[in-house]
Symmetry: C2
């Protein structure tokens, strides 16, 4: 009988944070691709564009003029998905037609004054300024809101409508689906084992090594055992932290380093400005905080590219209706990323 | 104080089939779009292309030659995500690194011999032949497999790599995430109310009317109260059926009619061959069937377009990390679809 090899034979893997399974089909990497090719990332950009509403000194569509900011710049989204003061839906009593109030606010945060920058092309001081600003926003918004979601959509493929380096911060009175499920699964694990799920997980991954991508004194970046996107990664703290707001000086500094390294590896992989959605999850915030020792603060990158700068993974029919499916294994993805240099390909020969 | 209006004010809606919430932000429809524009659908296609591996009489990459089929044609995917006989992963005992066996098979089904056809351009006899073939496949594969997922990815935007009208059938030994959750929520509802969730739901929607799109003697197509995709719809049977295999002659005939009507309305909405992923859910199959009175067989369309043939909704950062979000309300979407003619725009003036 043939022996099982994870790199050759289909199998399921369990995501203990979400209670979901993913179908891994490594043999499928050989399939030819005749479908949609993505256009390569944005053309060469200038440092400043008087028509780009995120650049310093430019007038936005609502009439406001951006300051001549020199580091980060945060403002309320001109077209927010959530606003602060809106009438609330009536309380219903039909479980099949159930509405609930959604108070919130949406902010846009420019990461750097220059249009042609991105995290891998920024220096560590500049990235640390981004982290400091994230923390400030988490504190201000977290004082009022149950959940503050920081996320970056990078690249047109990820619905990003402006090439200026920026992220978004959506704060809400409600606890959204994804982190709510993670909260439950982490709590249950903690009740059972007296340890945080992600602390135990990291310890084991540090021994196994096969899914590690890069690390430093304070942080480890790895491809989760249950990763769905081809080159999905997770960033975990070596010393347990529950919220971004609790990072100390060393952790902030080293987080800047590791963000620069992983995004450089991403860009190097297919020699392109690597598209992704990324964001942070930590213990919930708001005025009614409960115990949170089961939570470990972590970051996630969800990049769509599969084989090259123009061939992506589509999460469509089967994935929408049945279950997530991936081709290359998380271990193969980790090795490919691990093998990438830590110097950005556009800077390598200069 | 302002009065709450669902068409103006943000709110959450609950999906009782999945236990998830969706954020509805109708005021956001006004936001300008400067991001990626999709290329319009496939150029004009011939009826037959000797280089297209799904056309009758053409040799596929594995050397096999397709028969000169005149209706539907089914074959095992040359690059399947699941195969029947593969070694199984070892049983582990670490809940953080949990693998499970995944036996299965993946079939491709051509819906029509002609390359330039699609459901809305087929006649009702041809569509009924598709339904008959679906039922045949459900029976054959359902005898062995726990779950048989029929789905169609239509359009390049939905990862479809071949313009020939075709769908896929993935059968698996495991019960995938999405239908497993639906199974639980439908069972709990049935235990509580002694009625199937989707039967109660349909009855109420037939009274409320505001989310209905089209209907006939046997079927109703509506935009679910909790729809995530801009023009998502669901097809529900007037008389309760648990599986596609159980449809009677009248239900099959009228299903062909309603598929033609809804896909025609979709194409007419933005005057394009409307991209979508669609598929069917019914009670699970396999040798160990248990009671299934809580299940109602239904179809779902998940189309990505939002405002025109080239502007789509991206489910990215916030949606991946926190919660699904939509702009126009399900009622607005239903009205727009309801208002579309039932004659295809390419045939209207002939
Ligand atoms: O098999 P296809 O059509 O080439 O592939 C398409 O549908 C599959 C099932 O939804 C997805 O896993 C693929 O990502 C997608 O490109
Ligand atoms: O606000 P943006 O960047 O224009 O919009 C983008 O990100 C949002 C949050 O993930 C999504 O809801 C939109 O579909 C996407 O286009």
């Amino acid at each position: 009988i043939m022996e099982f090899k994870a790199t050759e034979h289909q199998h399921l893997r369990y995501n203990p944070l979400m209670g979901e399974w993913v179908l891994v089909s490594p043999h499928r990497m050989n399939r030819p691709w005749a479908g949609q090719l993505e256009s390569e990332s944005f053309e060469t950009l200038p440092e400043w564009d008087p028509k780009n509403p995120l650049c310093p000194g430019v007038r936005r569509s609502n009439g406001e003029v951006n300051p001549n900011y020199e580091s980060t710049f945060v403002f309320t989204n001109d077209f927010p998905a959530m606003m602060e003061d809106v009438p609330e839906p009536p309380e219903g009593n039909d479980e099949l037609f159930c509405m609930a109030p959604a108070r919130g606010t949406c902010r846009v945060m420019c990461l750097h004054p220059k249009l042609n920058k991105s995290i891998p092309l920024m220096n560590c001081d500049e990235i640390e300024a981004v982290i400091d600003r994230w923390i400030e926003e988490m504190k201000t918004l977290g004082a009022h809101y149950k959940w503050v979601q920081i996320f970056e959509n990078k690249g047109q493929m990820m619905g990003c409508s402006n090439p200026h380096p920026h992220c978004q911060i959506w704060a809400s009175s409600f606890f959204p689906n994804e982190p709510k499920i993670k909260d439950e699964f982490q709590r249950n694990y903690f009740l059972k084992h007296g340890q945080a799920l992600l602390s135990d997980y990291l310890e084991k991954e540090l021994n196994k090594k096969e899914r590690l991508v890069c690390s430093n004194e304070d942080w480890v970046c790895l491809v989760p055992f249950w990763a769905v996107w081809p080159f999905e990664t997770m960033i975990l703290p070596r010393r347990k932290v529950t919220r971004m707001q609790d990072l100390d000086a060393s952790q902030k500094r080293h987080l800047a380093f590791i963000l620069r390294v992983i995004t450089t590896k991403y860009d190097n992989l297919f020699k392109t400005s690597f598209p992704y959605s990324m964001g942070w999850h930590g213990a919930p915030t708001g005025p009614e905080q409960s115990e949170d020792e089961h939570w470990v603060f972590h970051g996630m990158y969800f990049p769509p590219l599969l084989r090259s700068a123009t061939v992506r993974k589509f999460m469509v029919g089967y994935e929408m209706l049945a279950q997530a499916q991936r081709d290359l294994t998380p271990e193969q993805a980790a090795r490919l990323l691990r093998d990438q240099p830590e110097i950005h390909y556009t800077l390598a020969n200069s």
